[in-house]
């Protein structure tokens, strides 16, 4: 195996990816699944995890494109170059591009996933028999609405299991119409169109309007390829027309005549000589899963291997039962290590005592016995936190009986872990939410349906959150935001309430829906807090940062941006 010069790799193990667009060759669900399985090839043998993002910038941005597709390395039409990817890093680095002039399959011919019908989205079974006749493609036979369909078992007459095949009359993908079907005819730049078109686009993708007038409504989607559609050429998406005439001779099947490369092609009208409309005939195609697994290897930091059986060998070959070669495993584990726990070597040093926080000089000093803390309790190894809040100007991260804190300045050191019970003995291990009242400096802690109020070392509680006027069906308070003096917003589920801290009551007019007031943030955030003039909503390991004008101005990792791991 080889790695890129400088052993380029991600500096974090929780790698994100985003699928920017889809190929018309396969249903989006099959493409999603192929990519997920391709990532799993690598996560199975390393500590890497892969999380899919649906917006924003991910580490690995995945896209399909043709020829010149926005980077300095254009694709070359069908066959030849299949895909490329960039080694780890910022911007385009880490991204993976797939040539959409290829016929993307799972390596063994068209994969036709059905929709509707009675087969629960199963794939077509080719060949299948219908009315005593055998079909090896989708057909419109037996229907009056011109919708192509197929049987999902070998014998429709016996099993009666069927579904509808990809068709622009059934749905579109990507675009801005939410998958609505094409409407024919439609108007585009004053012209009327009766079928999908590539007009108005430079990337060769076929599209249609999903209303009768694109000029007016601007609603569109891309057309899925039918299983009988030709690949590439100049009439992608159209079926072969048999027979067709080429150089005066009639052809009843695909031919390689006229080409020096031996590839099979057909005319999509009755006469190539007259119309010059053509495309390549569908073949076995390339396995998106295998090519993606190879490209993701690059995106993780592996260069080409010279072992022919390795996944990272530069040439494509189809493997029915794929398993990762030991060379690929050695390569990726060189970069990221192995899965499973590391063996713990004998430690000649005695266990480290927990760091203790200096106490307030005005408070009577009490001697506390330092309780050893598991040194593996590293904040950077936590995926999520129970709660995050600011106490005395420092950002506090709570998790399972421990907490860490940082002043937040650029060179600030992360301190901890400290045990919660040492500092606030009345509190349980899991804190769902906390805030410091800006007026009284009292600390409010919430866990489940109870809350505690600390004033210095004095504690009040636990008390039920119902005492604050919150409804009794709330399971926990997940976030707290200071709103001016004496007012705090408390978040739970998809709602929030405004607490009058002085009166210890919820203001009238609440609850309100979080997504109505705070647009663009997850409405199932598990931590909400105020920090350095911004509002943070955390979900999983990510945060959405909102400015004072309630605009999301940043989405990032808690671990890297706030903890500075």
């Amino acid at each position: 195996y080889q790695t890129f010069e400088g052993d380029l790799k991600w500096d974090h193990n929780d790698v994100t990816y985003r699928i920017l667009n889809y190929s018309p060759d396969m249903d989006s669900a099959i493409i999603d699944d192929a990519f997920a399985r391709a990532f799993k090839v690598w996560s199975d043998v390393t500590p890497l995890t892969f999380t899919r993002l649906y917006d924003g910038t991910a580490d690995i941005m995945i896209s399909f494109g043709k020829k010149d597709h926005g980077d300095p390395y254009p694709f070359d039409g069908k066959d030849g170059l299949l895909a490329h990817a960039y080694p780890p890093g910022e911007g385009i680095q880490g991204d993976a591009h797939f040539d959409d002039d290829e016929f993307w399959t799972l390596g063994k011919g068209a994969v036709v996933k059905t929709r509707f019908g009675n087969a629960n989205g199963a794939t077509c079974h080719f060949p299948f028999s219908f009315g005593g006749k055998s079909y090896s493609t989708c057909t419109t036979e037996g229907r009056t609405d011109n919708l192509p369909w197929c049987s999902t078992t070998a014998d429709y007459d016996k099993d009666k299991k069927y579904g509808f095949c990809p068709s622009e009359l059934l749905y579109t993908f990507d675009g801005n119409a939410g998958g609505a079907p094409c409407v024919f005819p439609f108007i585009f730049l004053g012209e009327e169109y009766d079928s999908c078109t590539t007009e108005g686009r430079s990337d060769g993708y076929r599209w249609c309007a999903t209303t009768g007038n694109f000029d007016q409504d601007k609603k569109y989607g891309f057309c899925p390829s039918r299983d009988i559609a030709v690949i590439g050429g100049n009439s992608e998406g159209d079926p072969c027309h048999f027979p067709f005439v080429f150089l005066g001779k009639e052809y009843h099947s695909c031919t390689s005549e006229g080409r020096g490369d031996g590839k099979l092609w057909c005319s999509t009208t009755d006469s190539y000589d007259d119309d010059q409309k053509w495309g390549f005939c569908p073949d076995q195609g390339y396995s998106l899963f295998l090519v993606a697994a190879h490209e993701f290897g690059h995106a993780l930091g592996l260069d080409h291997s010279n072992i022919r059986e390795a996944l990272m060998y530069p040439m494509y070959s189809y493997a029915e039962d794929f398993s990762l070669h030991s060379d690929d495993i050695a390569g990726i584990q060189f970069l990221y290590g192995k899965t499973g726990p590391d063996p713990t070597p004998p430690n000649p040093n005695p266990p480290t005592a927990e760091p203790t926080e200096p106490t307030d000089p005005t408070e009577p000093t009490t001697t506390t016995t330092a309780v050893p803390v598991d040194p593996t309790k590293d904040a950077c190894k936590q995926d999520t936190f129970d709660t995050i809040t600011v106490i005395q100007g420092e950002l506090h991260f709570f998790k399972d009986g421990h907490y860490w804190k940082t002043s937040g300045s650029s060179n600030a050191e992360l301190k901890g872990p400290f045990t919660i019970s040492n500092k606030w003995p009345a509190l349980p291990a899991v804190i769902d939410s906390a805030f410091e009242d800006s007026l009284t400096k009292k600390l409010y802690f919430f866990s489940g349906t109870r809350f505690w109020v600390y004033t210095g070392q004095n504690v009040l509680g636990p008390r039920s959150i119902e005492k604050l006027g919150l409804p009794n069906n709330i399971e926990k308070v997940e976030g707290a935001l200071q709103r001016g003096k004496g007012k705090v917003l408390l978040f739970s589920g998809e709602n929030f309430w405004r607490l009058d801290v002085k009166a210890q009551t919820i203001d009238k007019g609440y609850p309100k829906f979080t997504d109505v007031v705070f647009g663009g943030v997850p409405n199932d955030a598990h931590d909400v807090f105020q920090y350095q003039g911004h509002t943070y909503f955390c979900r999983d390991r990510f945060y959405w940062r909102m400015n004072s004008r309630r605009q999301v101005d940043r989405v990032g990792y808690v671990k890297y941006d706030l903890l500075k791991c």
Binding site: D76, G80, L247, Q276, E295, P314
Partner: protein, 89 residues
């Protein structure tokens, strides 16, 4: 004896012409995948001889290292592949 077919090659609209001679194909391949250009330690970029580049390519792809454009090498060059260069530049 039947007469051999006279193949006529046409230029298909929208197709990227790939009717290259073997040596043109090899030259393109060796350039595109990093075998021809190398950067010296000084940072100076130099061209490697075709034979040397071919040997390098044959070694990288696990072929017999002849430095000659033989059928096995040509076949390898015609196979579908990843666009990432084999030799970093």
């Amino acid at each position: 004896w039947s007469l051999p077919l006279k193949s006529v090659f046409v230029t298909f609209p929208g197709d990227i012409p790939k009717n290259l001679t073997d040596s043109e194909l090899a030259e393109n391949y060796l350039k595109n995948f990093g075998y021809m250009n190398t950067v010296e330690r000084s940072g100076f970029q130099s061209m490697v001889s075709t034979a040397k580049a071919l040997k390098r390519m044959q070694r990288q792809l696990g072929l017999e290292e002849t430095g000659v454009l033989n059928k096995e090498t040509l076949d390898a060059m015609k196979k579908p592949r990843c666009g990432v260069p084999d030799v970093a530049n």
